[in-house]
């Protein structure tokens, strides 16, 4: 907070008689209750808008991010990925600590089995977006490592298959709470595919990249999956495959576990950003998956996949908020610590204008995410519009931060360029933002078609 009597150039000091800080004190009690004049940080202002349980979660997540993620972020961003299947020791320690602190067992399942914030009034996606903003703001790659498991766990929850939750989720949660990592992954993308996994026409001419053939007591999976977040280290994967001789409508969700014969991650990608997290190509060479490892039933995979994406695109929008905040905070720190003609840059009007725009953009996308997270049931148009809008604006905030910092923004240590590289990925994954635009229209088709009637 700015000390009393001081002011930035061109602005009223808080102690000035004309400042709202001073003038509002003269309002009568009723007036004082409807306007605010108490100094608060941006973070405090936002946190005050949350229900108590989520405010507490936000505080806890920020504390964890500051103490555990931020110190590891730059190092893990530039350290080459270890060979497939091996942990970077520092990453393992981060994941282990997150598990011990309850950040990896908080999807839907309440204590004592899990650590989720469960309130009848809260849709489960809201705690996720609160947490994901704090983690993304610290490091995209670490956030992805810690949040991808939720994606992998979604089919269990959305299937409503209590038995599957009991058999696959709860034992993993017990393991995680002891500090032993148990990553989950969600495997849909195939080597020859991309956004057409969810594009309507694509489904009609789909050539499966992973096929399940019937075998005694189960299924044999053969083929490949690509661009699978955390897939190189995951112990449990929800893998979607077409049944032999059938198309995408036959997609079925299979649980594949590390160590199953014939399953192996074959390579990892070299990415622009989110580099602490491995992105793997997976090989399935007649992997036998027993019938008991089918989630939600045969041919229910397509619906589970779409439902998962509808659920997860709001958190992806939340990533955008986190990256925008990372860029904003980097720019603000730079503007306060760098001087020109003896004054911190933040005194110059053009710098104030850029910062104000970044604050407003970040606040606006957070408002959209929190609003939809609060009222949201997994609806395609809402999920897609949140994802596309917030991630696009997030990158723009990163551009603004880089503009504010000028050529200093190129330096890795200043974190703005990292925020840009991290922010660029959510514009592509979980359906490109172009596909998500079409998904918005697809979901309001009935309304649109009604207007097309002569």
């Amino acid at each position: 907070m700015i000390a009393n009597g001081q002011a930035l150039d061109g602005l009223l000091a808080p102690s000035d008689p004309l400042s709202t800080r001073t003038a509002f004190k003269k309002l009568n009690p009723l007036g004082r209750t409807v306007v605010s004049s108490t100094p608060k940080t941006l973070w405090e202002q936002d946190t005050a808008e949350l229900p108590g349980s989520l405010a507490k979660l936000r505080r806890r997540a920020r504390d964890f991010a500051d103490k555990v993620l931020v110190p590891a972020a730059l190092e893990l961003d530039v350290t080459p990925q270890p060979p497939v299947g091996q942990w970077n020791p520092r990453l393992r320690e981060v994941v282990s600590t997150a598990g011990r602190q309850g950040f990896m067992t908080d999807f839907v399942v309440p204590p004592p089995l899990g650590t989720a914030v469960v309130r009848a009034s809260l849709y489960p996606v809201w705690p996720i977006v609160v947490k994901i903003e704090e983690f993304s703001r610290a490091c995209g790659g670490l956030m992805l490592t810690l949040m991808v498991p939720v994606l992998g766990q979604c089919p269990f929850v959305l299937s409503g298959d209590v038995n599957a939750i009991r058999r696959f989720l709860l034992p993993a949660f017990r393991e995680i709470k002891t500090g032993e990592p148990h990553p989950f992954s969600f495997a849909i993308t195939e080597p020859a595919a991309g956004s057409d996994v969810e594009e309507g026409h694509g489904a009609s001419v789909y050539t499966p990249g992973l096929i399940a053939r019937r075998a005694n007591g189960g299924w044999l999976l053969r083929g490949r999956k690509r661009f699978i977040g955390g897939g190189d280290l995951s112990k449990t994967l929800t893998v979607f495959a077409a049944l032999d001789g059938e198309g995408m409508e036959s997609w079925t969700c299979f649980v594949v576990q590390r160590g199953m014969a014939g399953f192996r991650p074959v390579r990892k990608e070299l990415k622009m950003g989110m580099r602490a997290s491995g992105t793997a190509e997976l090989e399935f060479n007649d992997v036998f998956v027993p019938d008991t490892h089918i989630v939600g039933g045969l041919r229910k995979g397509w619906a589970l996949n779409r439902a998962t994406l509808n659920f997860s695109r709001i958190p992806v929008a939340g990533m955008g908020v986190g990256f925008a905040r990372a860029a904003l905070e980097a720019a603000l720190e730079f503007a306060c610590s760098t001087t020109l003609a003896g004054k911190p840059l933040v005194n110059y009007q053009e710098v104030q204008l850029m910062l104000a725009q970044m604050v407003a953009e970040t606040k606006a996308i957070r408002a959209m995410v929190w609003h939809h997270a609060r009222t949201f049931t997994p609806r395609q148009s809402v999920a897609s519009m949140s994802k596309l809008y917030c991630t696009d604006r997030s990158l723009e905030v990163c551009n603004m931060a880089m503009d504010l910092m000028g050529n200093h923004s190129l330096l890795h240590a200043n974190r703005a360029e990292k925020a840009f590289r991290d922010a660029r990925l959510p514009i592509i994954f979980e359906g490109t933002n172009q596909i998500n635009r079409l998904a918005v229209i697809e979901d309001i088709q009935e309304e649109v078609l009604a207007k097309c009637q002569p």
Partner: protein, 367 residues
């Protein structure tokens, strides 16, 4: 007749530059996920001199040479080079600029391992720099700002270039731009690995530590010229990145099928290809105009105005190229993400869009 001989000579030089780019540079950078080693960059510098991109001797004239038609040649050659590798293009551009500056200013340095630093430690000197370059009176605040802005002993500057032993630095003596060539040993140089863009080059922050340095040469007009040529070179390099983005995106969209249909036929993709192409075509028109201008004040203001919108458009264009590739575009081995980072670097080197806009507004304010 003289004109056609000149045109023919320039065309021949451009063919040489094209061969150099495609036959010498391209094989070394065909794996964009692998950084070009410094030794190979140095070797390329030598080979660039052999094909006339850099002067091989005192009588030679490379990029940014003074002979007639050299500005146009420089722009076309840099654009060609950047289409293959932005970092190599930027390196040769700055080396050639250093050569021109040395010749104009009579600086004694002869090392080919030289870098240039035109900007002060932050921004473009707000309103004070355009006033100085326009020859308008400076008030006390302007002088104080420029003195602080250009003070290399007080503030570290970001320097991007190949390996360097000497640095040609713009400073301010209270009235004029003051040029000095300082040795690396006279500076505190902090290497900044993993910087955004231009992976082939070295990014560092530099502060002068030595108190005894050459007196320097005062020449504000030389600064205007250098700022103009540097900006022009970066514009051409950005255009080359966009050209490359268009080639890659168009090729990919022409072979990638979605739903059984080539993605280039989808409006979502065609829109992006159209924006990339529009940016490249705009660059062609802008560069054609600027190559005919004298490197002086009005042209500089015009170029700053163009760059304030052109570089953001280049960033959108390279991002669009990446988006056409979708997930593959994010992977280093496809080469598109590097175009995005290089375009970002050019957006903030030599003045950001905001700073360039302020520069132009102040230039025109009291005209």
């Amino acid at each position: 007749m003289a004109r056609s001989r000149l045109t023919g000579a320039i065309e021949t030089m451009l063919e040489e530059a094209g061969r150099f780019a495609h036959e010498v540079v391209a094989p070394l950078v065909e794996h964009p996920e692998q950084v070009l080693p410094a030794a190979q960059l140095e070797a390329l510098t030598g080979q660039a001199a052999e094909v006339g991109l850099l002067p091989a001797g005192p009588e030679d004239d490379g990029l940014w040479g003074q002979a007639e038609g050299r500005t146009g040649f420089s722009l076309d050659a840099l654009r060609l080079l950047a289409e293959v590798n932005g970092g190599v293009a930027f390196h040769l551009h700055r080396l050639a600029l250093a050569t021109r500056l040395r010749a104009r200013l009579g600086l004694p340095g002869s090392s080919t391992a030289v870098a240039v630093s035109l900007q002060g430690h932050y921004g473009l000197g707000r309103q004070a720099l355009p006033r100085l370059l326009a020859g308008r009176p400076l008030d006390g605040a302007d002088i104080a700002l420029l003195t602080d802005y250009f003070d290399l002993a007080r503030h570290a500057r970001v320097v991007v270039g190949g390996p360097w032993q000497t640095l040609i630095v713009a400073g301010f003596d209270g009235t004029h731009i003051l040029w000095q060539e300082v040795a690396r040993t006279q500076c505190a140089v902090e290497a900044r690995p993993h910087s955004h863009g231009f992976d082939e080059l070295q990014t560092s922050t530099v502060r002068r530590t030595a108190t005894a340095v050459p007196a320097g040469t005062a020449d504000t007009a030389a600064y205007t010229e250098a700022f103009y040529l540097d900006s022009l070179g970066m514009t051409a390099i950005a255009a080359g990145l966009v050209d490359r983005g268009l080639d890659l995106a168009r090729a990919y969209a022409g072979q990638r099928r979605q739903g059984g249909v080539l993605v280039e036929t989808f409006p979502a993709v065609a829109q992006m290809l159209g924006q990339i192409s529009a940016t490249a075509r705009t660059a062609t028109q802008q560069l054609a105009w600027f190559k005919e201008q004298d490197p002086a004040g009005e042209a500089l203001a015009g170029l700053c105005a163009v760059r304030s919108t052109f570089h953001p458009a280049c960033c959108v264009a390279t991002n669009n190229a990446m988006q056409v590739f979708a997930g593959r575009g994010y992977m280093q081995d496809f080469g598109v993400e590097k175009l995005v980072r290089d375009a970002n670097a050019l957006r903030v080197l030599g003045g950001t869009p905001v700073e360039l806009g302020l520069f132009v507004a102040e230039w025109e304010r009291a005209r």
